[in-house]
């Protein structure tokens, strides 16, 4: 026995139970969270005979405590003595599965599902299945709701008689009086179908599916759409048309936008589940309708799926379908009245270029991209910019930049800083593809302008961008084009700009190498140690620490050390701190 070493006598259950009953919720919660410790102290036998009955009978508590308890019990199998005794955990979990609060109930069901796997087939029939039955025929809706989540875990491992009973219970709950239970049943329909034998899928599940899909409440109907995916995957192709499609067609044209939204949202899954033939004949027109739906929510959900839908079309007819059926709808969505729709489309539309190839992209898609790049809504522009690379792969950067450059230049000065940020992040790629000359001519001034942006995040990104550019174009280019400008900012009246000089130096020194750093950057940094603003001074200390490894030991000793020592006796406490840190990191003490 685990408690035989006498430890448990030190911790009589009364004390522990006292803790679980403490007036302070926080303390109760703490004790519950350490329930496994308590169980361990008690040993498996007393846990079974004393702790669990106490938990089952006397705990009526705040939902937060109950939630913690429900979670703990899911991990309790070993603490009650292993799988052989796991059924002892059922009574407290059963009562937790009937409480009002959804979060607690869901957690109890989750734990029940977990420990169901630890039951032997016999225990499953003797202990677990009767519990499911009790829950399924409970008075209050909560227990019936919980039951819905338990059928599928016990079904596969019980005898055929019990299986028949389980199916019957599930059927009853699907036509329950309260919509809450029907919703729970509908949401588990797919999962339950998966564990059923095919003959019962056809005989039982389909009729339940059809009934739930035409429920009077749209909140139930929309859950049937989810089940539709799983059911369609289970059935042989030849049965889909008669068993599933009538319901799916009806859902796609449901009078409630919530149901149509759900269809749009699950469209790719549905498409995969029903296969290419049905997709061609049924889903293409349905998708067109969803893209033209009168509710923006539905259009946005459908727009989100445009790329995936097109990708998954059967290859032989893909291009024709896209060009004749989908693209016209997409063109309309580009000028939709709702910004969420446009923004959803912008996040996927670029993906079409890989599917359609270079010529079609240039002829049909590029005008749409350009239109969206100029959209009044920043999210739309942002989504386009952040996906430029997939177009890049198809039509090449030259082509892209010629058409897009004016738009990019415009966006570089966009009023929304996140848009500017997205453009900056795209710069190194653009620069690499365009080459030095083109870059110097068209984009260099933009990159420098960002350094004095009034948003810190932009200045920071601009600094990082310079580093990447130097990595691409080399130290010589840096020395000629950007370093003079960067160092010039050291005399700027605005201290934020002076600090930007330091940040740039931090980023560039390594890429530029020892010579440039020592000759050009170091003097500027050292000079700035006399700055009036303390923030600049302590950033000088940080910069010196940063560029120290690039410098030779001579400059370190003769130039850097005196300055850091001076800063180490600065009036400002932060300056002192960072100077001392630099001295110790660079081992100059």
């Amino acid at each position: 026995m685990a408690g035989a070493d006498g430890d448990d006598s030190l911790y009589p259950i009364a004390v522990l139970i006292d803790e679980l009953r403490n007036e302070d919720v926080q303390l109760r919660l703490n004790s519950i969270k350490k329930l496994s410790t308590i169980a361990l102290a008690l040993g498996v036998e007393r846990t079974r005979t004393e702790l669990l009955p106490f938990l089952t009978d006397t705990i009526y508590d705040e939902d937060e405590v109950l939630l913690a308890l429900a979670e703990q019990l899911g991990n309790f199998t070993m603490l009650v003595g292993g799988p052989e005794y796991v059924h002892c955990l059922l009574p407290p979990l059963e009562s937790l599965a009937t409480v009002e609060e959804t979060v607690v109930r869901d957690k109890a069901v989750e734990s029940l599902r977990k420990i169901s796997h630890e039951h032997s087939p016999v225990d499953l029939e003797v202990h677990f299945e009767p519990l499911v039955k009790r829950l399924a025929s409970g008075d209050w809706f909560t227990s019936r709701t919980s039951a819905c989540g338990l059928f599928s875990v016990c079904y596969p491992r019980v005898s055929s008689t019990v299986k028949a009973e389980i199916r019957q219970h599930f059927r009853t709950l699907c036509s329950d009086d309260t919509p809450m239970v029907r919703r729970a049943a509908a949401s588990k329909l797919g999962e339950f179908a998966k564990v059923l034998e095919l003959e019962y899928v056809k005989s039982d599940i389909i009729s339940l599916f059809t009934a739930l899909a035409s429920d009077e409440q749209d909140s139930v109907r929309l859950l049937a759409v989810e089940a539709c995916v799983s059911i369609a995957q289970l059935l042989p192709q030849e049965d889909l048309e008669t068993l599933v499609m009538p319901t799916l067609r009806q859902a796609a044209e449901d009078k409630s936008w919530r149901v149509r939204y759900m269809v749009a949202d699950k469209f790719s899954e549905l498409q995969k589940a029903v296969g290419p033939e049905i997709t061609k004949n049924d889903l293409v027109p349905a998708f067109q309708n969803l893209l033209k739906d009168c509710e923006a929510e539905v259009r946005a959900a459908a727009a989100n799926k445009v790329k995936e839908f097109c990708e998954n079309l059967p290859e032989d007819s893909r291009e024709t379908i896209i060009m004749t059926h989908i693209l016209p709808c997409v063109k309309e969505l580009v000028s939709d009245t709702n910004q969420h729709v446009k923004s959803a489309l912008a996040s996927v539309i670029m993906g079409l270029s890989t599917i359609l190839g270079k010529d079609n992209t240039i002829e049909h898609l590029l005008p749409l991209f350009l239109a969206q790049l100029k959209d009044e809504c920043p999210e739309v522009r942002l989504n386009i910019i952040s996906n430029l690379d997939c177009v890049n792969e198809v039509i090449g950067i030259r082509q892209l930049s010629q058409s897009l450059l004016p738009a990019i230049v415009e966006l570089a000065e966009d009023a929304k800083w996140r848009v500017r940020l997205a453009i900056i992040e795209y710069m190194p790629l653009l620069a690499g593809q365009l080459g030095v000359e083109f870059f110097d001519e068209k984009l260099n001034s933009l990159c420098m302008a960002w350094l004095v942006d009034h948003v810190y995040a932009i200045r920071e990104a601009a600094t990082c961008n310079l580093m990447k550019l130097v990595e691409k174009f080399g130290a010589e280019w840096a020395q000629n084009t950007i370093i003079p400008k960067v160092l010039g900012m050291a005399n700027d009246p605005n201290y934020l700009h002076r600090m930007t000089t330091l940040f740039c130096i931090n980023a560039l020194s390594e890429a530029c190498g020892q010579e440039i750093t020592t000759k050009h950057m170091l003097p500027v940094v050292l000079k700035m140690s006399n700055d009036q603003v303390a923030n600049v001074r302590f950033n000088v200390a940080k910069s010196l620490q940063k560029i120290g490894p690039v410098l030779d030991s001579n400059s370190l000793q003769t130039e850097v050390k005196p300055v850091l020592e001076k800063l180490a006796s600065d009036q400002d406490i932060d300056v002192k701190y960072f100077a001392q840190e630099a001295i110790s990191v660079l081992a100059l003490a």
Binding site: A2, D7, L10, Y11, V15, E19, E23, L27, K34, S36, T37, I38, L40, A41, E62, N75, F76, M78, L79, E100, E101, T102, W140, F141, T178, P179, M180, R183, A184, S187, E216, D218, S219, L222, L223, K255, S256, W257, R258, Y261, M262, D265, C294, E295, A296, E297, A300, A301, Q339, H340, S343, A344, P378, E379, L382, K416, R418
Partner: protein, 467 residues
């Protein structure tokens, strides 16, 4: 469960700064249901003569024709289409409203299905999605129903019809059935407060006249509330439904049925947990007090329920709870008070020491209530020990001088009530605190020992303990 499906993923969160300000700048929005849109052809209705211009025997037939014409619904989002016909329908509806109010003998049996059909065609529709994902009724303008010029008249007509002297529920119940009521209840989610106001009257009339539908209506309201509390937290018409329930509860016969008690404990009390409580709290508190006035023995479960759901972080809600509790205490019977006083005053003691001065102030106002004061006085030997430590501490520590002043008054009142006990508590205050500290220390040690044990065992049994 379904809430995730009903609210599409937010796209406007990319830039955190603009949200509210951009929304503010928007003009008043108006919306219409999806089904009215996207039809092509213009609508033609052949003008009919006025009812008053035809001989009385022909009026019922003409009345039916007009009802049929009014089944046509127009697209109000398109402000330019069908202007003439929209105006024609408007004047016809106006005429029908007047006609049902003053005429006699028009309500033939054939008229009932036609009236219900006309009303159904016009009012029953899928409500459009809410414009903003997180519609904040206190902050945002509600979306107004675009077709209101017609819709209002239809509601007006329906109410006059239900209130008409000739109206016979025995005939109407064939058409105003469960399905009808269910659709009516769904409309309470409308964002337009004008529509919800009309719906309230309609539902009230139906509840009053159709005895056979009463239980069904109550059950469906139950379901709406439960879904609201446990699934979506979104339903616009909660206040209106509670208002109707207030008068329904008022009419309950005694003794209360188990069904009604269950409604109180399992539905009304949990409604207090919802984030948007402030929008319907007055109506909810009214319902609760109605119940308690009917059956005082419900006081204990109600107060225990409120204590269970007492707000942990939201001070505004805490103030609302304290207000409701005072309403309850105003009607509480002394025998009930005794049953609940301990847990109740433990909570009040916590509120009194809240660092949020509005919470503390609201709780301290209880001592200005004469009836509550008399209850406290009668039970001072129980309540004073519970309250004393908090009061004593606040009188020394609270940051807000107004609160300190109020606490002094309360302490003074207690002193006058029971000076012996007061002196005793003052004398033992220090040693009590020390005892508490000692207990705290013991607890820590106990847990520490337990953890050591866990560690030891864990090592020994090689990972048997789940983490």
């Amino acid at each position: 469960m379904s809430s995730a499906a009903a609210t599409p993923p937010s796209v406007d969160k990319v830039d955190g700064f603009s949200r509210k300000s951009v929304r503010k700048a928007k003009q008043k929005r108006s919306q219409s249901s999806s089904q009215f849109r996207s039809q092509g052809k213009p609508i033609e209705l052949a003008p009919l003569p006025l009812l008053k211009d035809v001989p009385t025997p022909e009026q019922p037939e003409l009345f039916l024709q007009k009802l049929q014409q009014c089944c046509t619904v127009f697209d109000f989002m398109d402000t330019l289409s069908d202007l003439k016909m929209k105006e024609y329908k408007r004047s016809t509806l106006n005429e029908l409203v007047d006609y049902v109010t003053v005429s006699r003998g028009y309500l033939t049996e054939q008229a009932y299905p036609e009236v219900v059909k006309m009303v159904s065609y016009n009012i029953f529709r899928t409500l459009p999605p809410s414009e903003s994902n997180e519609f904040d009724p206190e902050e945002d303008e509600p979306t107004l129903e675009a077709s209101w010029p017609h819709l209002q008249l239809v509601y007006e007509f329906f109410i006059r019809f239900l209130e008409s002297q000739e109206f016979q529920p025995s005939i109407a119940k064939k058409y105003i059935d469960q399905k009808f009521v269910l659709q009516l209840l769904e409309l309470f989610d409308s964002e337009d407060p004008r529509e919800r106001d009309y719906l309230k009257t309609v539902l009230h009339r139906i509840y009053g006249k159709f005895l056979g539908l009463r239980a069904f209506i109550r059950k469906q309201i139950n379901n709406i509330f439960l879904r609201f509390v446990y699934e979506t937290e979104h339903f616009n018409g909660v206040a209106e439904l509670l208002e109707i329930l207030g008068s329904i509860i008022n009419g309950f016969a005694l003794p209360l049925k188990a069904e009604h008690k269950q409604f109180l404990v399992k539905v009304l009390i949990p409604l207090h947990t919802v984030r948007s409580l402030s929008l319907f709290h007055a109506q909810l508190a009214y319902c609760i007090v109605q119940f308690l006035e009917k059956d005082p023995t419900l006081t204990e479960p109600v107060i225990r329920g409120l204590l269970k759901f007492w707000p942990k972080t939201c001070s505004q809600k805490e103030v609302m709870f304290l207000g409701e509790l005072e309403e309850i205490l105003d009607v509480i019977e002394p025998t009930q008070f005794v049953k609940i006083q301990e847990p109740l005053f433990k909570q009040i003691s916590r509120c009194v020491s809240s660092p949020h001065f509005q919470v503390a102030e609201r709780a301290l106002y209880y001592w200005n209530n004469e009836y509550i004061m008399s209850l406290i006085e009668e039970n001072s030997s129980v309540i004073l020990p519970i309250m004393f430590a908090s009061l004593y501490r606040i009188s020394k520590e609270h940051w807000n001088p107004a609160i300190v002043a109020l606490v002094y008054n309360v302490l003074k009142a207690f002193m006058e009530m029971n000076s012996t006990l007061f002196d005793e508590l003052t004398a033992t205050y220090k040693s009590d605190r020390q005892r508490e500290k000692k207990k705290e220390k013991e607890r820590e040690e106990l847990w520490k020992k337990l953890e050591d044990l866990e560690l030891k065992r864990g090592l020994r049994s090689d990972g048997i303990i789940p983490t």
